[in-house]
């Protein structure tokens, strides 16, 4: 590096030296040339004006000759022959060009050939003429013309009476000056004929002459000193020629002086130096230009060659650089690291990898213009390129930062490690920044951290759960064990036995529900839960819910209401059991965590749904109970979570209900959330989508039977809801909001002959309630019109009074068209919907023979006892194989039903059922087989049915359920036998 730099310096010095040498040689050469040119030029000047001077001398000589010859002629011419003289003179004038001819007398008088007398101001020329016989002098004529006069003495003569002794000719100075003019020196040359004292006789200055004495002028206007002027005057007086250079009037001039050769006259030529050398300088200039052009051409050629090579090299370098850059771009496009190079001066971008657009959504060109655009992407890093910190990075050092950026197009957040290297490239400081994508690493770490946290949380939750369960299980178990001991000791006291038995039963149920929840949760979490989809009636579901929960609510004197907004479809397709479970969980929690006399509300509404084959329903369970903290809301749906407080501690619960609910909602593709404030109550919202069955024919039925209906309810929302639900049914509905108005409306309509076909009255209305209103209506319009009472309450207490008042039927709130139709259909003689099967009466099982397959002796004993208590008989099999064998060995009709445990040794219940069904026994296909198993999930039920069973009963045995199912199956079995013509044994 250093060596290269030294070479560069040496080369520069050499080039400068060569350049200076060339300049020096050039200057010396051109000075030499200039001197030579000047010498040649002055020689040229001397030559030209030498020639002019000789010509002028010749002219003077010729003038003397002319005058001499004229004198001779005049001497011979007769005085009287003036005409001939004039002719002679005119002839000479035409020949020689003089402008005037004079006859002179020594008394300084003068006459022209035509006899005009005049005064000729020759000054001291008269004396010279007298002394030397001739004179040349300048005079100014009366007309202002300056004339040079040549005069010679001649023998005394007489002309026109004038005695003359000299004759003269005159030339105008302008004419003479023309003969002295030369074309050389670009017209800048001035020529003077002066006396040796400087007095100017002639001047070639264009337009006239203002110089009277050139020596005086030089004294005033030149840079000649006294010595120079004296030398000049001396030369002139001595008839010496010479050439001097001096400044005249600020112009550098060459002054050439040459003696004319007559008297003291001197020819003086004054030429600017620039004009003297102009011709040569022009050659010199041309030479210089030619040389300069030559040098320029050589230089340009050399420069072009160097430039061409440099360009080629540069192009090669650029191409190579471009290839590298391209390759680097391609490489960087395939990685998730961004590369940036900044200069350290102003942080201008020298390079930025194009993948910045893919990774951060910033066009590379935009970032190249201003790197600060990256600030837009920074999530929580206020200074993207920390300038102050960059400056702190030592040369060849590096630092790194962790940054989070958000993609400008997608909003995706990614983590990068920004490593900045400070280095020096091409004599300039550079920061090379590498943004390495660490998102996956970060996510992995986060996931690991979350997993760890979750594991810790789950572990903690399970520890808490086990602790809770230990407590919760021990509590009923303790009661069971304790009361069992007490039962044993007090077996002879029937009242205590019943009391203890009731308490044992209650504890057992609680324990069972606990176990069921745990199992349910376990099942859901393990992903083994599936949905059993079927169409069901939404109103029926709500009615059942109400029935189930109303007793709990009543026990705490709570107000439980169910509202339906809008007109949700009445029959939907879904897993009724799971929906029931969700809503029961939410409602029973509401009941549980709402103090006495609190309010619990279930609100059902339909949400917009794009697909006509589906309906989206929102179920809102709202209470004004104890509510929950914000902290607990965040994990209310987490398993094994219960809020710890003085209130909740007194309430039994497994902490699994909400988790199960959440999982079921997730399983059904819905959402659930909660809004709550401590002490203000909670609102759970569930949104679920259900498929719709085919269209019902309810509308058509309404159009046939009813055209006008009166609705009376103090809640306008209820009225609106009914009108919306009945919309499109063809029934014209009139609404009033109190009992009196209902009476009035019904009576008036009746009188107009436009009486209502149905009157629907709310039970509890301010003022006149529904029963009173019905009574009044009946009194006034009779008993033709069906009157129904709509109520959220249990109407059993008032049913008798109401019927006496004329009420035909009761309808539960909320209003559903299907419920309404089912209620009024009998009143119009139309077929009602099939009634739900009635609870099997006790004793229905009496007399029937059961084959019971149960491997557990205790359970077998309990079941046997229970069947006996119902009046039935049974035979026991210890496993499935034995059950099959016993059935196959039995006579047809021996067993009325088989109660089959599922999990048994040798052969399980499913296999046994399949074997029975597959056997050739006459009753193999028809004998009812019911699964009795602790596996109570829907898939267990489905598995049982798939195996050929007819029903499923969960353990522990609930005799009510057993009675219901068995009764139903026995009836069906009996009807089938009747249809087959078999007689009941």
């Amino acid at each position: 590096m250093m060596e290269k730099r030294s070479n560069k310096i040496l080369l520069s010095v050499l080039l400068c030296a060569v350049g200076l040498a060339v300049i020096f040689v050039g200057v010396v050469y051109f000075r030499f040339i200039s001197r030579r040119i000047f010498e040649d030029s002055t020689g040229h000047l001397e030559e030209i004006y030498g020639q002019v001077n000789r010509s002028f001398g010749d002219f003077i000589d010729r003038s003397w000759d002319l005058l001499d010859s004229s004198g001779d002629y005049l001497a011979l011419a007769a005085e009287e022959n003036a005409g001939a003289v004039e002719e002679y003179i005119a002839d000479k004038q035409g020949q020689w060009g003089f402008t005037s001819f004079y006859f002179l007398s020594h008394d300084q008088s003068c006459m022209t050939p035509d006899g005009t007398r005049l005064s000729l101001e020759l000054g001291d020329g008269w004396g010279t003429l007298a002394r030397e016989g001739s004179v040349m002098a300048g005079v100014t004529l009366s007309d202002g013309r300056d004339v040079t006069v040549f005069a010679v003495s001649v023998p005394t003569g007489r002309y026109r009476g004038f005695d003359y002794d000299a004759i003269a000719i005159g030339y105008t100075n302008a004419d003479l000056a023309n003969s002295l003019n030369v074309d050389a020196f670009s017209g800048y040359a001035n020529c003077f004929v002066i006396r040796d004292d400087g007095a100017v006789l002639l001047s070639t200055q264009e337009g006239g002459n203002v110089f009277k004495n050139y020596l005086s002028y030089l004294d005033a206007a030149s840079d000649l000193d006294e010595e120079g002027l004296t030398g000049l005057r001396s030369d002139w007086q001595n008839g010496v020629s010479g050439l001097i250079q001096c400044q005249v009037g600020g112009v550098s001039c060459c002054i050439l002086y040459l003696p004319v050769g007559y008297q003291d006259y001197v020819m003086l030529s004054v030429v600017p130096q620039s004009a003297v050398s102009a011709g040569f300088l022009s050659v010199q200039k041309t030479t210089i230009i030619a040389l300069a052009v030559l040098f320029l051409l050589i230089g340009a050629t050399v420069f072009a060659v160097i430039l061409s090579r440099s360009k080629k090299r540069s192009l090669r370098d650029q191409t190579e650089l471009r290839y590298r850059e391209l390759m680097f771009d391609m490489l960087s496009n395939n990685v998730d690291d961004i590369f940036i190079m900044l200069n350290t001066e102003d942080h201008g971008v020298d390079y930025i990898s194009p993948n910045i657009e893919r990774l951060l959504g910033i066009p590379a060109e935009e970032a190249r213009r201003d790197i600060r655009v990256m600030e837009k992407c920074a999530v929580d890093y206020d200074v993207v390129i920390p300038k102050g910190e960059l400056a702190a990075i030592p040369l060849n050092g590096n630092r790194y930062w962790e940054c989070e950026y958000m993609h400008q197009g997608t909003g995706e957040r990614r983590w990068y490690r920004m490593t900045v290297y400070h280095m020096r490239l091409q004599e300039m400081g550079r920061y090379v920044i590498v943004l390495s994508d660490r998102t996956q690493e970060r996510l992995n770490n986060q996931q690991l951290q979350q997993a760890l946290t979750a594991a810790q949380s789950a572990n903690e939750a399970k520890s808490n759960f086990l602790s809770n369960m230990s407590h919760d299980i021990r509590t009923p178990m303790n009661a069971i064990v304790g009361f069992a001991l007490l039962l044993e000791k007090n077996a002879d006291q029937p009242d205590r036995v019943r009391e203890y038995t009731r308490k044992i039963t209650a504890s057992s149920h609680h324990l069972l529900s606990l176990i069921n929840d745990v199992l349910d949760m376990s099942k859901i979490e393990s992903g083994k839960t599936s949905l059993n989809l079927d169409s069901f009636s939404l109103p029926q579901l709500l009615e059942e819910l109400k029935i189930i929960l109303l007793s709990q609510a009543k026990a705490k004197r709570q107000q439980l209401t169910v509202h339906v907004q809008g007109t949700p479809p009445e029959v939907i397709v879904g897993d009724k059991l799971r929906l029931n479970q969700i809503l029961i969980n939410l409602l029973s929690n509401a009941v549980k965590y709402t103090p006495e006399e609190g309010k619990i509300e279930l609100l059902v509404s339909e949400l917009p749904q794009a697909s006509p084959q589906y309906v989206k329903l929102r179920f809102v369970v709202r209470d004004n109970g104890i509510g929950m903290s914000e902290e607990f809301q965040r994990h209310v749906f987490a398993p094994f979570s219960r809020e710890i407080s003085s209130v909740t501690n007194t309430i039994q619960g497994t902490g699994l209900g909400m988790a199960i609910t959440k999982n079921l909602v997730d399983l059904m593709g819905g959402v659930i959330w909660v809004e709550s404030q401590p002490g203000q109550g909670s609102t759970f919202t569930v949104e679920l989508s259900f498929a719709l069955p085919e269209k019902e024919e309810t509308v058509r039925l309404f159009q046939q039977k009813i055209s006008r209906m009166l609705v009376a309810d103090d809640e306008m929302d209820v009225c609106q809801g009914i009108m919306e639900m009945m919309h499109g049914s063809g029934v014209d509905i009139s609404c009033v909001t109190d009992g009196a108005a209902a009476v009035e409306a019904a009576v008036q309509a009746h009188r107009r002959g436009e009486g209502f076909q149905v009157i629907l009255l709310d039970w509890k209305m301010p003022g006149m309630d529904g029963v009173e209103a019905a009574r009044s209506i009946r009194r006034q319009i009779g008993s033709d019109v069906p009157i129904l009472v709509l109520t959220s309450y249990d109407w059993s207490d008032i049913e008798d009074e109401a019927r006496q008042a004329g009420i035909n039927a009761f309808m539960p709130k909320p209003f559903f068209t299907s419920t309404f139709w089912n209620t009024i259909a009998p009143l119009f003689g139309a077929p009602a919907a099939p009634a739900p099967p009635e609870e099997a009466p006790a004793g229905q099982m009496a007399g029937h023979m059961f084959l019971v397959a149960e491997d557990n002796e205790l359970n077998a004993e309990i079941l046997t006892e229970m069947l006996h208590m119902e009046g039935a008989r049974c035979e026991l099999a210890e496993n499935g194989r034995q059950a099959v064998d016993m059935f196959l060995r039995s006579e047809p009709g021996t067993y009325d039903m088989i109660l089959m445990d599922v999990q048994m040794p040798v052969m399980n219940g499913y296999e046994a059922t399949r074997a029975i069904r597959a056997s050739g026994h006459p009753s193999a296909k028809t004998i009812p087989i019911v699964a009795m198993t602790a596996n109570t999930f829907a898939e267990d039920v489905r598995n049982a049915l798939d195996a050929g069973m007819d029903g499923h009963l969960g353990k522990p045995i609930d005799m009510d359920a057993v009675r219901e199912l068995v009764g139903k199956l026995l009836d069906e079995h009996a009807r089938e036998k009747e249809q087959r013509g078999e007689s009941q044994p």
Binding site: G208, V210, S216, Y217, L218, A220, V248
Partner: protein, 428 residues
């Protein structure tokens, strides 16, 4: 202005009463004596040569001159008022300047071309007194001077230079003087108005039709090529340094020091100035100076400006027309004007004038003056001309604020504004 007019009116009425009371043409004493009314500016009529000739006339003829004189500042207004009321005097004294137009010369005055004394007038005096059509309006009877280029002859001799006879030589002379370090021409920035006027004389004197058109607002300065030549020469001279490097700071009072010190060699002025204003005791005195024509681009052979002359004009409608003409002839008689101007320093109006005193500078340049003298024209005859405007225009030119055309346009604009013309006449 109203007050002045009122005063003028009162005076005019008073004069009218005097004139009527005099019983025009008949003096009260001698029954044969005639009376001529003569109106003029008071200060003009008090000049010694005027009173001498008046007295001589009255003595010689027995006639009496009834002098009507007004103060200088009221003269134009009162005289005009008299003319408007028909009270035109027999003889009227007035300069041949632009104000004379107020008095309707064609209508009121007798053309004197045929008088016997006309040939005795110097050319410049005669030219001065003629109108545009060559009619002689009056008899010049006044003192005057010759304006021209006065140069330091002594200094010029010492520099080996001689005076110029042509514009070309003058330019060469200026260049030669400049090359010796002298200021060729002393040009006072605040007084160049009269210098411009010298240059304008030949333009209008040589072509009176131009003056007529100009005064009838038919052309402008810009339409006259010689005016452009003049401004171009002035601009060129200033640019070449012929006015000196500090001429913009040179004023009227600086002329004398510049000339007596030899700093400046020439100036454009009049001869009597050397005897009234030139400082004494300097290196150079009046004797060192000589006269040559002014060369400012408008006259190849140069020009001199003759003096402004008071003319005696005759009322052509007067009952005493012949008497008035006789009075003028009396004044124009050599013995009378020589007696009147005896010892008076002035340029001659009459060729036979011998008793007046003329400066050596003028007499030495006699032939040149004879050949190149023009009557003062610009200041006196161009309607709206103002010396001050010319100063402003030239200074605008020197400072670079105006170019040659702009300078002329400015002069035209000022001239027309002074004349009360809004715009040049159509076609101008």
């Amino acid at each position: 202005m109203i007050r002045r007019r009122f005063s003028a009116l009162v005076l005019a009425l008073a004069a009218a009463l005097v004139l009527s009371a005099c019983g025009a043409g008949t003096p009260s004493g001698d029954p044969d004596a005639q009376v001529l009314t003569l109106m003029g500016k008071k200060s003009d009529l008090e000049k010694s040569y005027m009173t001498r000739v008046f007295e001589a006339y009255e003595t010689a003829t027995g006639n009496r001159l009834e002098i009507i004189s007004y103060e200088d500042n009221e003269y134009e207004a009162l005289a005009q008022a008299q003319f408007e009321q028909g009270h035109v005097p027999d003889v009227f004294l007035h300069f041949h300047n632009a104000d004379l137009a107020r008095f309707d010369t064609e209508e009121n005055f007798y053309y004197l071309n045929g008088e016997s004394w006309v040939d005795d007038l110097t050319d410049s005096a005669r030219a001065y007194c003629q109108d545009g059509e060559g009619n002689l309006l009056g008899l010049p009877f006044w003192e005057s001077s010759v304006s021209g280029c006065y140069y330091n002859k002594t200094l010029l001799d010492s520099l080996g230079l001689k005076p110029a006879t042509t514009q070309k030589e003058f330019d060469m002379l200026c260049q030669a003087l400049a090359s010796t370090g002298y200021t060729p021409i002393c040009w006072p920035a605040d007084g160049c108005g009269w210098m411009v006027q010298f240059a304008m004389d030949p333009i209008f004197a040589d072509d009176p039709a131009l003056l007529e058109k100009l005064n009838h607002n038919e052309i402008t300065y810009a339409d006259i090529p010689q005016m452009t030549d003049m401004v171009r020469w002035i601009a060129g001279a200033a640019e070449k340094g012929w006015f000196g490097s500090d001429h913009m700071a040179t004023g009227w009072d600086d002329i004398s020091p510049a000339l007596v010190s030899g700093k400046a060699v020439m100036t454009f002025i009049w001869d009597t100035w050397f005897y009234t204003d030139l400082e004494q005791g300097g290196q150079y005195s009046a004797e060192d100076f000589a006269l040559m024509p002014v060369f400012m681009g408008t006259a190849p052979s140069g020009t001199y400006e003759g003096g402004n002359l008071n003319m005696m004009m005759v009322n052509k409608n007067s009952d005493h027309l012949q008497l008035a003409l006789d009075f003028l002839s009396f004044c124009a008689a050599p013995e009378n004007y020589n007696a009147a101007f005896d010892g008076i320093s002035t340029v001659s109006c009459f060729k036979g004038q011998t008793t007046n005193i003329q400066s050596k500078m003028v007499t030495d340049a006699h032939d040149s003056i004879e050949a190149n003298e023009r009557a003062s024209t610009a200041a006196s005859k161009i309607i709206g001309y103002s010396s001050g405007d010319a100063v402003a225009a030239m200074n605008g030119l020197f400072s670079g604020r105006m170019d040659i055309d702009g300078c002329l346009q400015y002069m035209d604009k000022c001239r027309m504004a002074n004349a009360g013309w809004d715009d040049p006449a159509p076609g101008a």
